[in-house]
Subunit: 323 residues, 2 copies
């Protein structure tokens, strides 16, 4: 994380020093200016984000696919005054009574755009970001065994990046907290989606060390110590590092998750985080209580989730006549 | 207005053309650079917006309040390529496997910020935009009996408007579907928040005929016929009237609800409806399964919900030492 994000608060200095400036510097930056735009996969006017499918010419000479995600960044409280004073241009758009609107054009240093590149990108990546109609699935345990599990096993979506983090081969300097226990331990890191410039959209991920737990469906009372560690130590680590108390954190799992290595999401309660809606998120506190009440709760209960029209898993449910 | 749905680009153009340029020209632009920042009223990391309370010195010499709303603008498809090619600076933030993130700093002309000024602003305006801190509560059944229930009973929220609908004294013409059974029946009406102009933000409410059920906490297996009627008939009615299939509906209860007469929310799955996040929404299908599994599930289980700092119920939990 050379040129690492600058978290606000007192940790700035330590953080800056902690960041290894050679690790990332070794990597050639993606040739963004040479990107040939193929299509806009998705736009979100609300999130001020756009998902692009582009191509760049690889060393071997042929076009290689890339996904480029551009997202405008939240305002930083400490830079708002600069914005008002240093703006290069202010255009009056309209004025009515006590209300007026302007176009403000700030200097580059105050206009950061968070850019995420997936390169080389597979067809799966392109599909993942393509806007699609969604359908709600009510998955029984039988559906899971007969449709979802075989599907997961047939897929080979690489989670090497998860192992890189767990093995400290990547993002080691980004680790916020670790419990090294191979069975009940985990690593807490900032999510890619969070640039750490402000706490409003705080987003961290706890990745468990044990590798055989795919999702909520695999959890039993055996995993309670692990889950309680994540809940307890995760809250403490976020409070210590970022000053955000546990009562202002939304701590949850996704079902379906986007990758099948058990992980837990920590987001700021005030942040309307994508994926925090009821049809996908399961509060860790509820999961713990459900397992404490019935060790096989998640091997019995139907679970609801949404699938996009293009997702192969939806086709499997359709073929099975379950949609 | 900054948080409202963005008008489509077409409207933006009309809006721009509609803006009275001469009238506007007559008005001296707001002295944004002279604004003395008093406080940040609210930030929205998701919407990339910030609401500021500032002061400027009025002609008469004393400080006058203003609300300044800054909101980053959505990407315009036709300008995305410029953004990639003309960016002034690209900084590698982190790199892991096929994923990398960058900070991109575009030129001013590609970094418009929508700026809205309310000037002079009254205390009402300041309050309107002020963000309240939220706290997560984990309410046990004992908390419910000792804190929440007495609080609800001490309040006299009028729900006459609900009775007016149930008795056809109001909105009779808006009823989408009714099951008249006094015990297991309900009325389905469009929610006030939905203008019915488009299906994207479809929002309906099912109000039960029986009046003694306050919330999720009162539900037992006795209510399964009622809940199953709402789930089944509600889906059918929405499909019949609006052509939206049940697989594209999010059907849920709120806890805490905003009024204590049992009601169920129906929203378009594609619509990121306020109140559909995991800390407030409970899928009706899950509620039915939980009650079928254990009639007293909701008299046993802890339930999580968020309260704003100014809510009286939060004070009650604080007084009881539960926050």
């Amino acid at each position: 994380m050379a040129e690492g994000p600058r978290p606000k608060r007192k940790h700035d200095e330590e953080e800056a020093e902690a960041a290894p400036h050679d690790g990332a510097a070794a990597v050639a930056p993606f040739p963004l200016a040479e990107l040939r735009l193929q299509r806009v996969l998705r736009e979100s006017a609300r999130d001020k984000a756009v998902f692009l499918h582009g191509q760049v010419t690889s060393p071997s000479g042929e076009g290689t696919d890339a996904v480029v995600i551009l997202e405008k960044t939240p305002f930083q409280e400490e830079k708002v005054l600069d914005l008002l004073k240093k703006h290069t241009k202010l255009e009056l758009q309209m004025h009515n009574d006590i209300y007026s609107t302007y176009h403000l054009y700030p200097p580059p240093e105050l206009s950061e755009i968070k850019t995420t590149v997936v390169y080389p990108a597979t067809e799966k990546h392109l599909q993942k970001y393509l806007r699609q109609e969604v359908h709600l699935i009510r998955e029984t345990w039988e559906d899971y065994k007969n449709i979802t599990l075989p599907f997961i096993q047939s897929q080979s979506f690489s989670i090497q990046w998860v192992y890189n983090i767990l093995e400290k081969k990547a993002e080691a300097d980004r680790i916020i907290h670790e419990n090294p226990d191979p069975c009940d331990g985990f690593v807490l890191v900032p999510d890619f989606k969070w640039n750490q410039n402000q706490l409003d959209d705080l987003y961290l991920i706890a990745l468990v060390h044990r590798r055989e737990v795919k999702s909520l469906r695999d959890l039993t009372a055996e995993h309670l110590p692990l889950l309680r560690n994540i809940l307890q130590e995760g809250k403490e680590a976020v409070a210590k590092r970022f000053g955000v108390p546990g009562s202002q954190l939304r701590i949850y799992l996704h079902y379906q998750p986007s990758y099948y290595h058990l992980h837990v999401h920590f987001t700021a309660l005030g942040y309307d985080a994508p994926g925090s809606s009821v049809e996908r998120a399961h509060l860790l506190a509820d999961v713990v209580d459900n397992l404490a009440m019935d060790s096989t709760y998640y091997q019995k209960r139907a679970l609801t989730f949404a699938l996009r029209a293009d997702e192969l898993l939806l086709k499997k449910f359709q073929e099975a006549g379950r949609v």
